[in-house]
């Protein structure tokens, strides 16, 4: 079962939820798709780590073969190629590595070279296999790193994906294969605005979803009312709690050091799994 944890903005508690859901499973794979600023590994402190370099392909023009027909420039949807003077110029950072220019070139003047764009660090933390995507500084998109992260599927029952914040391409890439999306939100008006963005996204992707409200304070019902109005299932409500905040900011995994939190996240994981099996049942 692949569970994606996402939110409309940073700092809502995505990593708190994702890390702890992975910890309370019997055995889980935790994938940090927030590949521009991954932080799940700071909690897991994985052992026996291995690195895998992620490359993508960038076109190289053979000027002796190129007859400046311009087909590659006109083809490129992202405008990563330009014809200036008597040369085709390639903008590596704009290129999305689709390989189309190579196909349309009538002179076979285009080959491809590998460009390092990031790495995946894999390791183990007790019952969790931790995979972390790290994008090279200066790379404009983390999408290829995320797709490489998610391509390496291992046979485990519970896979938790910690998504990047927001609802851009990186998030879409991260939830593509998810069986269920957990939307983490704060109970404020601002939180609701951001929740609405990811709700629209998972609806467009037709993904089963539920909400976890974090930092809940008695008497503030803005998010609660929003969920009621949209008929969104609230899977769990995490109270605003200084103890939890302190443990978390010390880099501790709360469900590993506190039995109460462990029970809370175990309940949440159980509810999610019931939701997924319910969804599967109603689909068939």
């Amino acid at each position: 079962m692949r569970i994606a944890v996402l939110s409309g903005k940073g700092g809502t508690g995505k990593t708190l939820v994702a890390v702890n859901l992975a910890c309370v499973a019997d055995y889980a794979q935790y994938i940090d798709c927030d590949a521009e600023e991954p932080n799940g590994h700071l909690f897991f402190k994985p052992q026996n780590t291995e690195e895998k370099i992620i490359n993508r392909l960038i076109p190289v023009i053979d000027e002796t073969k190129c007859d400046l027909c311009r087909k590659c420039v006109d083809f490129c949807r992202f405008n990563a190629l330009a014809l200036i003077g008597n040369k085709i110029k390639v903008f590596d950072k704009i290129c999305h590595s689709c390989g189309g220019c190579k196909i349309v070139c009538p002179q076979n003047a285009i080959t491809e070279k590998e460009k390092r764009i990031g790495k995946i660090i894999s390791g183990t933390s007790e019952n969790v296999r931790v995979e972390t995507g790290m994008t090279e500084v200066g790379e404009s998109s983390a999408v290829p790193v995320i797709s490489a992260l998610l391509a390496d599927k291992i046979d485990v029952e519970t896979v938790i994906t910690d998504c990047p914040p927001g609802c851009a391409c990186t998030v879409m890439e991260s939830i593509k294969d998810a069986d269920y999306c957990v939307l983490v939100a704060e109970p404020t008006l601002f939180g609701v605005h951001n929740l609405n963005m990811v709700y629209e996204l998972v609806k467009a992707f037709k993904k089963p979803h539920g909400v976890i409200l974090n930092k809940c304070v008695e008497g503030i019902d803005i998010a609660e009312n929003y969920c009621k109005e949209k008929q969104l299932k609230v899977i769990s409500r995490i109270k605003f709690d200084k103890e939890l905040g302190k443990l978390n900011s010390d880099g501790e995994i709360v469900s590993r050091v506190n039995a109460g939190y462990k029970a809370m996240f175990a309940d949440t994981l159980k509810s999610i799994k019931e939701e997924v099996s319910h969804e599967t049942a109603s689909d068939s």
């Binding site: 405008n79 110029k89 404009s140």
Partner: protein
């Protein structure tokens, strides 16, 4: 000599557009014949790389000078490689900017913006 200017609309009294890559049109002014030609900027609605595509359009127009309020780094790379000189335009009508340029009142554009790539294109 031809002068290119990103503009808001395709009429003679148009203002200079605040954006280079996303300008709806380019005005190409020929200083000898005094003729104006408007070119549709196909990059205006591009998903990404608008600056590059817009700069390609300007380079293809054979302009030797570009008057623009701003220019991103990718566009600047194309413009510089095409040996087009860039001057900083002033707010207001394209017409008055052409006059100002011809009187030598515009200065070369030095500051290049890092651009928006990745932030809205994803």
């Amino acid at each position: 000599m031809k002068i290119a200017i990103p503009v808001d609309s395709n009429n003679e009294n148009t203002d200079v557009c605040v954006s280079f890559g996303r300008a709806p049109y380019f005005l190409i002014h020929d200083t000898e014949s005094k003729k104006n030609v408007f070119i549709l900027n196909e990059a205006a609605n591009a998903q990404g790389g608008a600056g590059i595509k817009a700069a390609q359009t300007v380079a293809d127009s054979k302009a030797e000078v570009l008057l623009t309020p701003r220019c991103g780094e990718n566009a600047a790379e194309v413009i510089n490689s095409a040996n087009i000189k860039v001057y900083k335009s002033e707010k207001g009508a394209a017409k008055s900017n052409i006059e100002a340029f011809e009187k030598g009142k515009l200065s070369e554009l030095k500051e290049i913006q890092p651009g928006m790539h990745g932030h809205n294109a994803g």
